[in-house]
């Protein structure tokens, strides 16, 4: 099936918010901009508005204009909508300004001086804070979590070898093609005026909850509509709530529509990034390469507010021990508060960080016991019936050893390894190597998260016989609408042309949960199937569901008999049987299921420049049933490219906690010329509780490439790098002099 919005995106016909003409609901629209903090921590002494401007012609919003609590509704509500007299990170929003002339507005905002009495900021999460840097509790710790299985200390006493390592990963910017964009206007409704927000976002109901909280309105007086969204990768999970509030506050004060479009440099500097991490491993290994004990410590930089860090930490530690069986595991972890931009959701959500450390550690274990990197993984990969670090019994039928073997075959691993070693003996300055990573990714929300979400999907039977899927899950470039159409058509026994996907609009669609966590096709897809079943049973006789043309005809007939009424099938989330998680002790089924993957990277290092080029990449994975092969392959390839950037070039340069290189000229994402051929191969083990038999695919591709590439660099050059991004400048220092 072709991607539904493919043609309109390819041809440029798709209108993102910045493309929308200022007509209709946007008639008379003002442009909104944000006044930001010039310091990473301190008291706001004064905001001076430039004397060259007549401010009576501008709409200005300060914290006192917020009708309700000055809080962005999320896990802890500690992040203000606008800094209330005190700033905690560089570029934090302090005030808002709107005007109809966009260039005049830019100049006016540049004229505003925010004067700060500075306090000492925390800018390095790895160093314990001084007393004058404490800003939360007694130690700045946002969250501590622990996983404990068996007895690591006893196991260390009996180890053949103990391998220790310390691994670091950097922040990462999402670089969605469409910058953040939001609009807001007022409408009349039965209960009074309604604040309508329409913009680029992943999670309409997160935005709705944030508006309800800070504007003190119920859901009949706030309405959130998703606009076509040009990429998210987690970057539009929580932050659009803040921009929506900014836009709504300006629209409320101006009583005119307002549009806020971030410039790229503002978007890069001010919005959340991937959490930087420091992970320490201490592993007890048997002579034959078996893992006897894994002691892992994970520290994440949470940034200036709690935002999503506790859940990122949670997913991070559950993946920290990798797809391996080990009887004794102790994982200790914390997310710490700093005065950096709040770190937030980013594809993989903590797992790529901990998996990077785990996989680099596996290579070093292989080295310590004299095993080939593939071999040490083969020895330790989980088998069905064995348990993960949370003592979840692995099941589902995926043969991880077969997956590894077929990746080794598909990539010509042995041949490339031999040839690279021969090549390296003769070439004056090029070195080639091959590396491997084996990974897992839990699909859907962690632990009992899906139960708490209690997601709902409706399907509407329309008078023309078509079925409309009503869900808050968003299309943001990943193909949700296409996958949902395929799943709905299959479930209803109808053609794709008989399925309509409703626009996520909180006045029309129920809360199917956020569009995150590789959950959309698996969890929401399944709800669509069940909602269609519900509709089909309502229209059938004696509980016998209708399908195909009979269903379509019955829908039309129902409308003839019930003119003007709504026909709906509904479904609410029910967990798969026997999935139980103790979220106090982190014991049990951390995820309903996992996707599994193997990455093999072949690289070439130029010793003259220390530049690393990925020559060839193989991504082998089991994601359950593949719903749309082209889209699934695209997800994997895109993830590999994004991970290559994270691994090799996407380096943050900070000054006083602010991003210095906040342009696409100086923040280096890969170009098509930096991307190798990527072989994507799926093994399909259908997952009965996922939509169409699917598991999640969105995040898994981000997990394996970075460690596989560094493993290959180690093979090529002997440089045992433990931190990413491994820029040429950093690799140079690990290579011998006079290369």
């Amino acid at each position: 099936m072709q991607r539904l919005e493919g043609l309109s995106k390819l041809s440029g016909a798709e209108r993102y918010l910045d493309d929308e003409p200022l007509e209709g609901t946007l008639k008379g629209c003002l442009w909104g901009m944000t006044v930001r903090s010039p310091a990473s921590r301190g008291k706001i002494r004064q905001i001076s508005y430039g004397s060259d401007f007549d401010w009576s012609h501008f709409v200005v919003v300060e914290p006192r204009d917020i009708p309700g609590p000055n809080e962005t509704y999320l896990i802890e509500n500690d992040q203000p909508v606008l800094a209330p007299g005190y700033v905690r990170h560089m570029h934090e929003a302090v005030a808002l300004v709107a005007h109809e002339d966009r260039n005049l507005l830019r100049r006016a905002v540049a004229s505003i001086q925010v004067e700060i009495d500075p306090d000492p900021p925390v800018l390095d999460f790895r160093i314990a804070p001084r007393p004058d840097q404490i800003q939360r509790g007694t130690d700045n710790i946002i969250k501590r979590l622990q996983i404990k299985k068996g007895d690591v200390h006893a196991a260390f006493a009996n180890a053949y070898k103990i391998v220790e390592g310390e691994y670091e990963t950097g922040a990462q910017e999402h670089v969605y093609i469409e910058n953040n964009a939001m609009s807001a206007w007022m409408e009349e409704g039965p209960n009074g005026d309604v604040v309508v927000v329409r913009g680029s976002m992943q999670c309409p109901y997160y935005v709705l909850n944030a508006l309800k909280h800070a504007l003190q309105r119920d859901e009949t007086r706030v309405r959130v509509i998703q606009a076509p969204t040009g990429g998210g990768f987690g970057g539009k999970e929580d932050y659009p709530s803040t921009i929506a509030l900014h836009c709504a506050l300006l629209a409320l004060k101006a009583r005119r529509p307002v549009k806020i479009i971030y410039d790229r440099s503002e978007d890069m500097a001010a919005t959340p990034k991937r959490h930087p991490s420091l992970v320490r491993h201490k592993t007890a290994v048997a002579k034959d390469g078996r893992l006897l004990a894994q002691h892992i410590e994970v520290i994440l930089d949470g940034g200036a507010y709690v935002t999503l860090s506790p859940v990122v930490l949670s997913r991070g530690i559950i993946h920290a021990a990798g797809p391996y069986f080990c009887e004794n595991v102790l994982i200790e972890s914390k997310a710490v508060l700093t005065n950096c931009v709040p770190y937030g959701a980013f594809r993989g959500f903590g797992a790529p960080q901990t998996i990077f450390a785990c996989e680099r550690q596996m290579d070093r274990i292989a080295h310590a016991v004299g095993l080939e990197p593939v071999e040490v993984r083969r020895i330790n990969l989980l088998r069905d019936g064995q348990t993960t670090s949370t003592q979840q019994i692995v099941s589902g039928g995926t043969d991880r050893h077969a997956l590894l073997d077929s990746a080794v075959r598909a990539s010509d691993y042995d041949k490339h390894k031999r040839e690279s070693e021969a090549f390296n003996k003769t070439h004056p300055y090029l070195r080639r190597g091959i590396g491997v990573a084996t990974v897992l990714h839990g699909a859907g929300f962690t632990g009992n998260g899906e139960v708490y979400l209690n997601s709902k999907v409706d399907v509407g039977g329309r008078s023309d016989g078509k079925i409309e899927v009503l869900a808050a899950s968003t299309e943001m470039g990943q193909g949700t609408n296409t996958a949902f159409t395929a799943i709905a058509a299959e479930a209803a026994g109808l053609n794709a042309t008989d399925i309509v996907i409703g626009v996520p609009d909180t006045f029309r669609v129920p809360n199917s949960g956020p569009t995150v966590a590789s959950r959309t096709v698996m969890v929401v897809g399944k709800l669509i199937e069940r909602a269609i079943d519900d509709l089909a049973v309502q229209l059938g006789q004696n509980g016998k569901p209708l399908r195909g043309s009979a269903l379509k005809a019955a829908i039309s007939d129902w409308h003839k008999k019930n003119p003007g009424k709504e026909l709906k099938g509904r479904a609410t989330y029910a967990p798969p049987p026997n999935v139980k998680f103790d979220d106090k002790n982190y014991v049990g089924d951390a995820y309903a299921t996992y996707a599994w993957g193997v990455c093999i990277a072949h690289v070439e290092v130029d010793l003259r420049t220390a530049a690393i080029r990925v020559l060839d990449f193989t991504a082998m994975q089991d994601i359950g049933k593949v719903i749309n092969p082209v889209l699934a392959k695209g997800q994997v390839q895109g993830g590999v490219v994004q991970a290559i950037g994270w691994a090799l070039s996407e380096e943050f340069k900070f000054k006083d906690g602010g991003m210095l290189n906040n342009t696409l000229t100086n923040y280096i994402i890969p170009t098509s010329d930096d991307v190798p051929p990527i072989r994507v191969i799926f093994h399909e083990t259908p997952y009965p509780f996922g939509g169409g038999g699917a598991k999640g695919v969105g995040e898994l591709p981000m997990d394996g490439p970075a460690p596989a590439i560094l493993s290959a660099v180690a093979h090529a050059t002997g440089a045992d790098a433990k931190a990413i991004p491994l820029t040429p400048e950093k690799l140079l220092s690990l290579l011998p002099q006079n290369c």
Binding site: N103, R106, R107, A110, D263, S265, P428, Y429, L607, R608, T609, A610, A611, R613, S649, K653, L660, N661, T663, T665, N666, I668, P670, T671, S672, D673, D674, T727, P728, E729, L732, Q737, N738, C739
Partner: protein, 279 residues
């Protein structure tokens, strides 16, 4: 914003003479970067040279090649002789931005903009290019390696425009160009190197480096070292000559140490087996 659009070079020179603050524009590819954010640039006055068709000529003479000031990278890539006579021009042109920039950006604009990271300038300098500066009061020719006087500073007076770039036609028996960027395309140069060796010349070597000093820099100490026949057995044997010629810094794109080290390695590996003293 004021934009003047003269029809002839003479008209353009008149305008320059009258208004010393005019900023000449050829491809304007540097101007438009972050345009919405650079509000102060909106208030300046510009001299758009795009109508001066006379400056968009590539002229092959018996002993030289002349590029009009509006010659784009793409124009040179399309020129069949350029690839055989001046191969480094084509190599560097292909490394500038992407095709969109290559087809708008000009060699003269690259010189005038004065960035030490300019991709087009090192190869021109390695081919001993000279620049013709034209004003109301006449024209003068300046060797490109004497054009810059400091960071984004040059000998060009405000009433002068670059009208042409000329390179002598010579027989080279070796040439090499390296651009080291942070990625394989669409990158700003972290270290650049252009080297030529003129066949049977008394002083055959031209070595030019970029992004390692305040300007694109010809490297006389390295040239002399190559000519001196003193043995070079490893990259670090270039270190003292490099230290004499360039002054790299730590900045947002790289480090001084990386720049020095990589320059030495590029020189060593490029010249190993080419220059008899490098083994």
């Amino acid at each position: 914003m004021n934009v003047f659009m003269p029809n002839t070079l003479a008209e353009a020179c008149d305008l320059c003479a009258k208004q010393p603050d005019l900023i000449p524009l050829a491809g304007a590819t540097d101007l438009l970067v972050h345009w919405p954010l650079r509000q102060s640039e909106h208030d300046k006055s510009y001299l758009d040279l795009s109508k001066l068709r006379e400056l968009r000529k590539i002229t092959w003479a018996a002993d030289s090649l002349t590029l009009g000031a509006l010659t784009t990278y793409w124009d040179v890539l399309q020129d069949s002789r350029a690839k055989s006579e001046f191969p480094l021009l084509c190599e560097s042109a292909r490394q500038v931005g992407a095709i969109q920039i290559q087809s708008r950006g000009t060699w003269a604009g690259n010189i005038a903009n004065g960035s030490p990271a300019a991709d087009g300038v090192p190869v021109l300098m390695a081919y001993d290019a000279s620049v013709t500066l034209t004003s109301k009061s006449g024209a003068r020719s300046v060797p490109l390696h004497e054009y810059y006087t400091g960071y984004r500073k040059s000998v060009r007076r405000t009433d002068e425009l670059i009208s042409t770039i000329t390179m002598p036609l010579r027989k080279y028996d070796f040439s090499v160009f390296h651009k080291v960027g942070a990625r394989r395309a669409q990158a700003i140069t972290k270290i650049g190197l252009a080297v030529t060796r003129e066949a049977s010349a008394a002083a055959p070597w031209r070595v030019v480096a970029n992004s390692v000093a305040a300007t694109v820099k010809r490297c006389p100490a390295i040239e002399q070292l190559l000519q001196s026949a003193s043995p070079i057995r490893k990259p670090d044997d270039f270190s003292s000559a490099i230290a004499a010629d360039v002054t790299p810094i730590d900045d947002i794109r790289s480090t001084a140490d990386y720049r020095r080290t990589v320059l030495a390695r590029l020189l060593y590996h490029s010249l190993n087996g080419v220059c008899p003293s490098v083994t």
